[in-house]
């Protein structure tokens, strides 16, 4: 239990702000009255309502992303006291155990849209690249799906809890930030294509690899396992992973990412070998 006693009357929140993409970042400090049971989201709400810095200067409300406020949508990820995590489940009482100040920064692996709001479209793009879906025949009534054992369900369920929050890739030494700006004379469509192409040539990240593990476990998904493995053999695929295991340590859903990476790594190797042996024999 967290003791509310001995808490300061006020506390400080230091936020790394940035007005727009390409603009310089700067720190701003806010002072708030201490109340029990605050989380970082409610702190940001209070800052938005007040919009005044610790020095008494008027400022703009801090921009940030959130949705469910229960740690299931993945929207509110940021770096809090140097740890990447969801701000909705970051409790002020806990954070203040280490001092009177809380530090908030946007994730460093994604382009900042504004302040703490980042653009994670690269993660959603990775789900396209690895074909993270079950290719059903259609949505007409064709009866129930294939039977599955409890054991398989228990293996798949944790993987299916991935909320594309980005903690794993933020912590990954092999995942580096990609921030592109439109070139002169480039149409929005051309820019979009260039972006997708760049995303596809860079590391997909642990979350997408783990989704391949999920879909390749499913009795129907298995039928297209090869296609997903192929995608992970291309540039930016699983070979980029250096096995640093940072990802698994920060995943808020405790998804066994290194297990997924291990399993898919082996499957990819096998898939490549199989394809190599299956090559049509050269004509003499």
């Amino acid at each position: 239990m967290i003791a509310h006693a001995n808490k300061p009357k006020t506390f400080f929140v230091k936020i790394l702000r940035q007005d727009a993409p390409g603009k310089p970042s700067y720190w701003e400090k806010f002072e708030l009255d201490y109340e029990p049971e605050l989380n970082v989201i409610s702190v940001l709400q209070k800052i938005a309502a007040k919009a005044t810095t610790a020095g008494g200067q008027k400022t703009t409300p801090v921009c940030w992303d959130c949705g469910c406020l229960e740690e299931v949508c993945g929207a509110c990820t940021m770096v809090i006291n140097n740890k990447v995590r969801q701000s909705c489940s970051a409790l002020v009482d806990k954070l203040l155990e280490d001092g009177r100040e809380i530090e908030l920064k946007p994730m460093s692996k994604f382009p900042v849209v504004r302040d703490l709001y980042v653009d994670r479209s690269r993660m959603f793009n990775a789900l396209k690249k690895v074909k993270a879906w079950i290719p059903v025949d259609g949505y007409y009534d064709l009866g129930p799906g294939p039977k599955q054992s409890r054991g398989d369900q228990e293996m798949a369920y944790p993987l299916s809890e991935c909320m594309t929050c980005g903690c794993c890739v933020e912590a990954c030494p092999q995942y580096s930030k990609i921030e592109l700006t439109p070139n002169v004379g480039e149409t929005p469509e051309e820019f979009e294509d260039r972006k997708v192409d760049t995303f596809n040539r860079n590391f997909v990240g642990a979350a997408a690899i783990s989704q391949v593990a999920l879909f390749n476990l499913n009795p129907t998904g298995k039928m297209n396992a090869g296609e997903r493995l192929d995608a992970l053999t291309e540039e930016g695929g699983i070979q980029v992973c250096g096995n640093a295991q940072n990802c698994v340590a920060v995943c808020p859903k405790k998804i066994p990412l290194t297990m997924s990476i291990g399993r898919i790594g082996r499957a990819v190797t096998f898939n490549t070998l199989r394809k190599w042996f299956d090559r049509p024999a050269k004509k003499h």
Partner: protein, 659 residues
Amino acid sequence: MADKRVLVVGGGLGGLSATMKLAELGIKVDLMSLTPVKRSHSVCAQGGINSVNDATRQLGDNEYKHFDDTVYGGDFLNHQPPVYEMAMWAPKVIDLMDRLGVTFNRTQEGFLDRRRFGGTLYKRTAFAGATTGQQLLYALDEQVRRWEVEGLVKKHEMWDFLGPILNDNGQCVGAVAQDLFSMEIKSFKADAVVVASGGCGLIYGRSTMSMTCNGSAASRCMQAGAKYGNAEFIQVHPTAIPGADKLRLMSESARGEGGRVWVPRKPHDSRAPKEIPDSERYYFLEERYPEYGNLVPRDIATREIFDVCVNGGLSVEENRQCVYLDLTHIEASELNRKLGGILDIYRKFQGVDPCYTPMRIFPAVHYSMGGLWTNYDKKESGGLIAGSPKNQATSIPNLYAIGEVDYHYHGANRLGANSLLSCIFSGLFVAPGLETLLSNQGPGSVAAEQPQSLYDEAVKKQQERHESLLKQSGEENPYLIHQEMGALMTNAATVVRHNNQLEEAIGKLADLKARAWKCSLSDTGTWSNQNVLFTKAMQDMFPIAEAILKGALARDECRGAHYKPEFQLPGLTAEDPAEHRRQAEEWCDKFEQNIQKFLKTSVSTYDGKDVTISYEDVDTSIEPPRPRFYGLVGAEQISEVWQERKKKKKEAAQAAVTN
């Protein structure tokens, strides 16, 4: 039909299922959402999704019983043909979700496992751990991503729907929306628009809903002339964890496993709960309902907790309403085994372990039964005509509504695990109707034939609103206005409703509305300005808030979630059998009169200034309304009289046919 397009606003379960079905039919879809669709509010649903299944069938269950439970639970305010159709489809919906790879829990033989939910006797509810909504949403999100790759779906995420665009004939031919990042305001041409924007809990300030559930999209349709149905029906869940930012759901199973609800007898007793001796604790549910104790039905638990705090002044804390939900008398190891998942939520967000310290809980706004008025095309044999463009159509031609934002499935009260079903069902079902609509659209009504000026004009109007907000100067702060509105709505229009309080609230809401247009913004920038977007959404909450209050004021009865003690039909008091019987007859007379008067949909319309309420009949053609008896004194006698009357009516009807 290659160049026709549908715009779907909202990518929760409703919007995504409509999108994937439309794409399957070869129709191009623009999918718009405030968030990446994968982060939509539907992720929050924990419990499960209902359908009849092979196991329940053998215990006597069938689709009709699922239908009956739904309309009985909804106190007969649901339109019956759509509910009937939904119940018929439910097993197929779950089969489809299973095929799409949802990680439903399994039995040891490998079938889908089921659990029992409130309001039924059967184990109908399929579930995926404690995150059923998340799993269903992801399966649909994946299918839509597949169609995106195929080129049939174009996503517009981080766009705010500002309203439908209507042509001179009043037909919807597209929408205006704003990019949340660049703040660009743009028109979208569409041959039909489907609104799937979810609930409106944020009107109450804090609720169990997500930050996007502000009702803005529904309100903007209402402001464009769409009718809004049953606004006053808002479901309040008895046990939520009060938080400064959100009220998080605490599942009913905590009480199911032996949790006891109490408050200190001394108001705001400052001692730690464990130091308060039993004799100084008020176990109000156990004292007031010796038979059911802590396991009284949801609505009763909600009302009693509310009463003890608001009227009894016995809240645990002085500045915040809450009561104790105490599990500390049960062994921690047992609690963790049975309730681990839900206790984790409390630990995570409160930083307190409920195994050793009683939880603090209070009822919270949870679901909006009301929503945009929608039509349906009914079949003689019960159910709906598949493929009819009337299904899910709002009162504006070519504008549709599905999911939590429509109004006709849940009547006066929604049953647990029925909402995920209605969202997916209405999404799948609307698609073939839209296909018919698009292929029959006559000349002049397709978007491509509308004058460009129509779209430019709509953009210009929104641009003006936007700019005038940025320029506006005034004393008011939009966030504080929202807080005041939340407090006002929570006090007047949640659990217990009184006419004098409602009247007062309507007046206060009007004052607040005037102030809401005098906000000055702390951010007048032109990039990712959340301040101005919030202010717009907040201003747009007023028409729905007004509809809720006015609808509640006009409805002088108790029905489902709408409870006005002044108009409750009292139980029977007489000891003497003849008098007892007479009272039961009288009770049934009054009940029938009440049906005549109030078994009606309330329809709200907005003229740009005020909300006006009118009434429409409810289609109860499949199952005639009957009384709900939870905890009523004399229920047996009333039930007997009611059955006799029903029999007589049936005989009279048969006689009329044979004559």
